[in-house]
Amino acid sequence: MKDIYELLNDVNLDDNEFEEMAVTEFEKAKVKSRLKQSITKKKKRMGWKMNVAAAAVVVGLSTATVGLTFPAYAGNIPIIGDIFRFLDNEKTGLYDNYKEYSTEMNLTQESNGIEITINDAVFDGETVALTYSIESDRDLGGDLTSFNTPSIKGATGAAGSSYISKIDDHHYVGLDKITPFGLTSDSADIKWKIGSILQTSTGEKIKGNWKFAFSLPATDSQIQLTNQSVEQNGVTVNIKKVAFTPMSFIVHYNQQATQQVREKWHEAYIELEIKDDIGNVYSGEGNGGSGTDAYTVNWSKTFEKLDPNATKLIVTPHVTFRIHDASNSGGVEITSDGKEKEIPIPVKTGVGQEKFVMDDIVIELEK
């Protein structure tokens, strides 16, 4: 026996008699999110054993996929509300609390049929993180890149990263992080002038003129001076201070190396691993650093929100010594007459790379 859906399969209708109606991206997103809920509810009605498994999976998945698959756009639509988490893709958890402490900007600039909206921005005292969305009246194709990074008044230099993710042909969201160096004030005055967006796959430049200017006060932070060091194999790592913000903590540290290390290796690279005394492992992202050479550098790294129950931070530095060769390093110098001159890699005695783990630095947290 056929049921109604099979019967309807047999009725060969002429689908041209039906008219299509215009649908906005928002409507699509709405229909999808509602459907998703209905499906979830349905799944939960399975047998009790399945029920537990399904519910667990569904919960796990839905937080991860809602952002991904049901994005909505610009600040006024709640579904993608948290671009920080969306772009982090629930991977590190570093940005889980950013939205909460960020300032909703909703600054929109329109140029050449493309609207760029700065959705949220936050300055933790070290790094400015801002999220934005791009909405266009036409299909912009694959991935986009913006070249101009925001500039911060009073900074002598900056490190940063920029990432734009495609939602669909007309919508993109992005996250820019800028760590200014030498900034003395506790607010960041940001100017962002975007002259063009690059379509990465085709190399096509989309010209426009988008300009933003705004000021962000630093979030409250509590700074704990530590000055604890560890020295091993000719490398010294010193944790200078840790700044605790409501959504993260930032570890400021520097590294030094002895003459022997300098003679043997081109580079000493430090990666910090941080745990606390109650078993949490914190994931973080480096903010870049500056220094006099490849061995003496001041770094900072931002980690996810501190567990309020933690009383100690356990920092384990991982050191990598590296030798540079043509495959991992190199550069050219352009001389005043316009010719390219290869910069020679100085000869060192080390071979390949060498790794080791330093002793833990235990920081007693001040409460």
Partner: protein, 188 residues
């Protein structure tokens, strides 16, 4: 892996959610068109939204029953949309107290419509299954999809009289079968 024009039907039948999204992205304009046309006189956006949700949910839950390629798929979901929209219209117009200018529309609800509303759906479908294929199509078009006799005759290349005759004969058959069924009994 993502759904595309080539693989979305298979993925939908395997209950991959991205296939459902693909279907929404691709077919929402036509589904919306169909639903609005039928339900707009009700002036109730909530019912329209609910109906659209129900249509996609039915597509999702019954995807395995679909057979054919993407051209057939479009036809199939259009048919489902029409069927659902008509169904919602019937139910809503039964419940709603009509303002006076809708009174004559209300008289359109025929005895057959009433039957469909009153009868248990599955029971009715069982009965329809026992009809000849051509009668079956006519019945579905007329009572599930709300087509007029003229539209049906055009589609099936029959005369109006022949369609009406088949409806008449079919109804007779159904009534006989209904009356021979005991209370609670059903025919597989």
């Amino acid at each position: 892996m993502k759904s595309n024009e080539e693989n979305f039907i298979k993925r939908l039948q395997r209950q991959k959610e991205d296939a459902l999204e693909f279907v929404v992205d691709t077919y929402l304009p036509i589904i919306k068109g169909i639903t609005y046309k039928v339900l707009i006189p009700l002036k109730d956006q909530g019912i329209v939204d609910e109906c659209i949700n129900d249509i996609f949910l039915s597509i999702w839950n019954n995807s395995k029953k679909f057979k054919g390629d993407s051209t057939d798929f479009r036809k199939w979901i259009c048919t489902i949309a029409k069927f659902k929209a008509i169904d919602y219209h019937r139910k809503a117009s039964k419940e709603v107290e009509f303002p006076s200018d809708y009174m004559d529309r209300n008289t359109d609800v025929s005895a057959e419509d009433e039957l469909i509303l009153l009868e248990d759906r599955t029971e009715l479908i069982k009965l329809i299954n026992q009809l000849e294929p051509i009668e079956r199509d006519i019945f579905i078009m007329k009572f599930f999809l709300g087509y007029k006799t003229e539209q049906i005759s055009k589609k099936l290349g029959l005369t109006n009289t022949s369609v009406d005759n088949r409806v008449y004969r079919g109804k007779k058959k159904l009534y006989q079968k209904v009356t021979t069924l005991e209370l609670g009994e059903s025919r597989a």
